[in-house]
Structures are given as structure tokens and as C-alpha cells.
């Protein structure tokens, strides 16, 4: 059987794999990939043994610090990062949920001041699975299924 890549390989850069299909565009938004000049290719609804279906993003000539990429753990907690150099995977990383989340997620509480004035949100992660995050301002907890990206 001929094996073919659905999303073509990159020579150098980063591959983000095992993204839940529903989270693909959120990941793009969190990493601000729409502002990149590098080549970005992605595929969605790909077959996955572990997940059923998944999404994948390949970003040419771009590498990420942990702090930068851990932000996507809020929507893609099982995502894996492969660093590619000369078509070879030279490093594999899993994303980790950070202790603090600043400025990415909206507070679910409609009465929170952060939804009324132009304020960067701040959350403390109080539980990882499922994610529960406490707003620094209104002290209410936003749960995983309520996470909305700013």
C-alpha cells in the first residue's frame, strides 16, 4: 500500500500534531499564524488511530519557545510538537498546561470587568484535567467547555 502524506513535508520548521479537529482554527488564532510570512500548511479531519480524527499544522522555518506553544494546551491538551531540520524530526515535545494564562482566554462571566473594559485577562490554572481556570479579577472559574479565545 502506498503511503502518502496528506500535508506535504517541510524541510525545516515545526509540525504541530494531534490537534483536536475542532481546535485547529483556535490554535491558528492563539499562535497568530495568520500574521506569519512563513509557509503554513494545515490539514483537518485526518485519520488518527488515537483520536479518530485530528488536525495537523506545519510551519516552515519557525521554531517555538515552550512558553509560546504551551498556550495552545488550553484547546489542544494532547498536541505534540516536532522540530524538523532537513526533513528529520530532531526533537519531540508535548505541550504543557501553564500555571498562569494571560490575555488569551475570555472570562466566561459576563459580569466580569474584563468583558466590559479593554483589559488583558489573567487566569490561574487550578485544575488540568479537565481544565479549570480562576479569573484573577472576578475570582470566578472558567471551565474547559466554556473556554473562548479572545
Amino acid at each position: 500500500m502506498q503511503k502518502q502524506l496528506n500535508v506535504s513535508a517541510i524541510k525545516d520548521g515545526t509540525v504541530i500534531d494531534h490537534i483536536p479537529t475542532k481546535a485547529l482554527f483556535k490554535v491558528i488564532q492563539i499562535l497568530k499564524l495568520e500574521e506569519f510570512n512563513n509557509m503554513v500548511t494545515f490539514g483537518n479531519n485526518l485519520d488518527s488511530k488515537a483520536m479518530g480524527t485530528k488536525a495537523i499544522i506545519k510551519i516552515a522555518n519557525r521554531y517555538f519557545e515552550d512558553e509560546e506553544v504551551n498556550k495552545i494546551s488550553l484547546v489542544a491538551p494532547n498536541a505534540k510538537l516536532n522540530t524538523i531540520r532537513n526533513y528529520e524530526v530532531v526533537e519531540k515535545r508535548v505541550v504543557q498546561i501553564p500555571e498562569q494564562v494571560n490575555g488569551i482566554v475570555c472570562c466566561f462571566n459576563p459580569k466580569c470587568i474584563t468583558n466590559s473594559e479593554n483589559i488583558s485577562t489573567k487566569f490561574q490554572i487550578i485544575n488540568n484535567k479537565p481544565i479549570e481556570m480562576k479569573c484573577y479579577y472576578c475570582e470566578k472559574i472558567t471551565y474547559e467547555n466554556e473556554i473562548k479565545i479572545k
Partner: protein, 303 residues
């Protein structure tokens, strides 16, 4: 030295709670002082609250300070569309301390971030109202002589009532409290608080109605069961008279028991309780002035 704010009850340590209790006692004994002479205090009430504002303003006057501010947002530049950020930035240039009430939750924490001078949260929506908790604690201290070993009954709306949550957190810092929660299932104490107590090894009991165990109470903390909290009006009708305290129910209670209520009361304490020496809610409101004198003096390092 970094400034100190009072936004949530958990911003203060147990030592600070005890300091506020001691200062409140001193101010009650000698209520007219000039610690705030030459100081300007801003009271910014973005929504009206007569009781809290008058209590704070009495405290400032008793300490000899001057007051600037507004008592509802219609009489401020907020009505012209000014942001909270800009209002606080401006006022913190004028005043030595800001006391703020605002309808949005988290507004006080944000104001404290923006302000160069200390901020006291006088209520941010349904979130926090820490000076109420400190005056509740002072009322307990004054009537029971201690904050340890208190058997506290909380009655009514334990789900949405911010005062009961804050009081629970604060009293949990003291020795051997026992909490008894009396509420309908719709308004039961949220799991997060029960979990908090379990983790600290603190005893609590839940009841659907008043029962004989009330005889063990040191403090009965009443709150209002609001009709609008119920999805089904039939459920409200079923429980609305269950959580009303009447004088006849106090017959076998401890002689030292006191009934507290953050006020305003609607019908949850029958007026026939008012003349019972166990009723303490009006004295409790009076204690608020001394407690607020203590909070202001503490945050400004005047005492």
C-alpha cells in the same frame, strides 16, 4: 513600601484579622479621633448603596478626614463614557485612599492595579464585600469573646450570598469552627466551599430546615431567600416560609446566641425577634463604622 489594598477577604492574614478586631474595639471605645486629619478619602459609588456608603463616610468623618466622591454613576463622568481605568487614574491623583463600589465583578481588583493609592472594595457585583465580613467577625468577637470554637448556623441563600462565603473563608482560619448550613437544595452551599472545609478538616452539616440542633448555635447568620433565584416559582412558594426565623424558635437556644443579618432584611426575620436580646443585626450594622475605621487606619499605616 508597597501599598496594601482590601479587595477580597483572603487578602488579609489571620494576624491582620486580629489586628482589625483589636483596632475596632479601640475605636468603639474612643470613636472620635483625628488620625485622618489632612487626608482626603474618595468614596466612588458606581451603584448606590446607602448603608455601606454612610458607614464608610461616618468612619472617615469620625477619623477627621475629608471626603470626595459620588454616590451613583449618573453624577460622575462615567455617564459621559469615561472608562473605569481613567476614573481611577484621575482620582488616585487626588485622594489618599479610594473606597469603591461597582456593579461589575473584578472591578475592584482592577482598580487596585491601576491606582497608586490603597483601594477598599465596598462591593464588586456579586463577588466580594470584605468590610462586611470583617464587621461580621467583629460582631462575633464582641458577643462571644472569641473567634475560635464558634458554632455558626448560616441560613437562607447560601448559594449566591457572598457574605456567607466570605465569612466561611475567614472563620476557617480560626480553631475548631462548626458550620451548619440551612438552605433549600436550590440555594445550598456550593461544593467548592464544602470541599474547602473538608480539605481543612473542618466539620460542617447540612439541613433542609431549622431543627433542634439550632440549640447548639453560637451565631445564627440569616440571609434573604430571593424569589428571583428560583427557576420554578412553585419551588419558591414551597420554601419561602421555611427559612423565616420567629421568636418562638429561640426559646431553647443558648442564652449567648446572637442573630446576625447583613441587612436589608425583608421577611426572613420576623419583627417579633427584634425585641429579643438575642437579636443583634442592628448593633452589627453599628459595629461596621468601627471596623471600617480600623480598616482605613490599617491600610494607611496610621495604626
Amino acid at each position: 513600601m508597597s501599598k496594601k489594598d482590601l479587595i477580597s477577604i483572603t487578602d488579609f492574614s489571620k494576624e491582620e484579622y486580629l489586628k482589625i478586631m483589636e483596632l475596632s474595639r479601640e475605636f468603639e471605645a474612643n470613636p472620635s479621633q483625628s488620625l485622618l486629619k489632612g487626608k482626603v478619602i474618595a468614596t466612588l459609588f458606581f451603584e448606590p448603596s446607602t448603608r455601606t456608603r454612610l458607614s464608610f463616610e461616618t468612619a472617615i468623618n469620625r477619623l477627621g478626614g475629608k471626603i470626595i466622591g459620588f454616590s451613583d454613576s449618573n453624577s460622575s463622568s462615567v455617564s459621559k463614557g469615561e472608562t473605569l481605568h481613567d476614573t481611577i487614574k484621575m482620582v488616585s491623583n487626588y485622594a489618599d485612599l479610594i473606597i469603591m463600589r461597582h456593579p461589575l465583578e473584578g472591578s475592584a481588583r482592577y482598580a487596585a492595579e491601576v491606582s497608586d493609592v490603597p483601594v477598599i472594595n465596598a462591593g464588586d457585583g456579586a463577588n466580594q464585600h470584605p468590610s462586611q465580613t470583617l464587621l461580621d467577625m467583629y460582631s462575633i468577637m464582641k458577643t462571644q469573646g472569641k473567634l475560635d470554637d464558634i458554632n455558626l448556623f448560616m441560613v437562607g441563600d447560601l448559594k449566591y450570598g457572598r457574605t456567607v462565603h466570605s465569612l466561611l473563608m475567614a472563620l476557617s482560619q480560626f480553631q475548631n469552627p462548626i458550620f451548619n448550613f440551612v438552605a433549600p437544595p436550590e440555594l445550598a452551599m456550593p461544593d467548592e466551599y464544602k470541599l474547602y472545609l473538608s480539605q481543612k478538616g473542618i466539620r460542617y452539616f447540612e439541613h433542609l430546615e431549622f431543627n433542634d440542633i439550632i440549640n447548639q448555635a453560637d451565631i445564627i447568620y440569616m440571609t434573604r431567600v430571593q424569589k428571583e433565584r428560583f427557576i420554578d416559582p412553585v419551588e419558591y412558594e414551597k420554601v419561602k416560609n421555611v427559612y423565616i426565623l420567629k421568636n418562638e424558635m429561640l426559646g431553647n437556644t443558648k442564652p449567648t446566641v446572637k442573630i446576625l443579618h447583613p441587612l436589608p432584611r425583608i421577611n426572613e426575620i420576623h419583627p417579633d425577634v427584634d425585641s429579643n436580646p438575642k437579636a443583634y443585626y442592628f448593633s452589627q450594622a453599628r459595629n461596621g463604622v468601627f471596623t471600617r475605621m480600623a480598616i482605613i487606619s490599617h491600610l494607611l499605616n496610621l495604626r
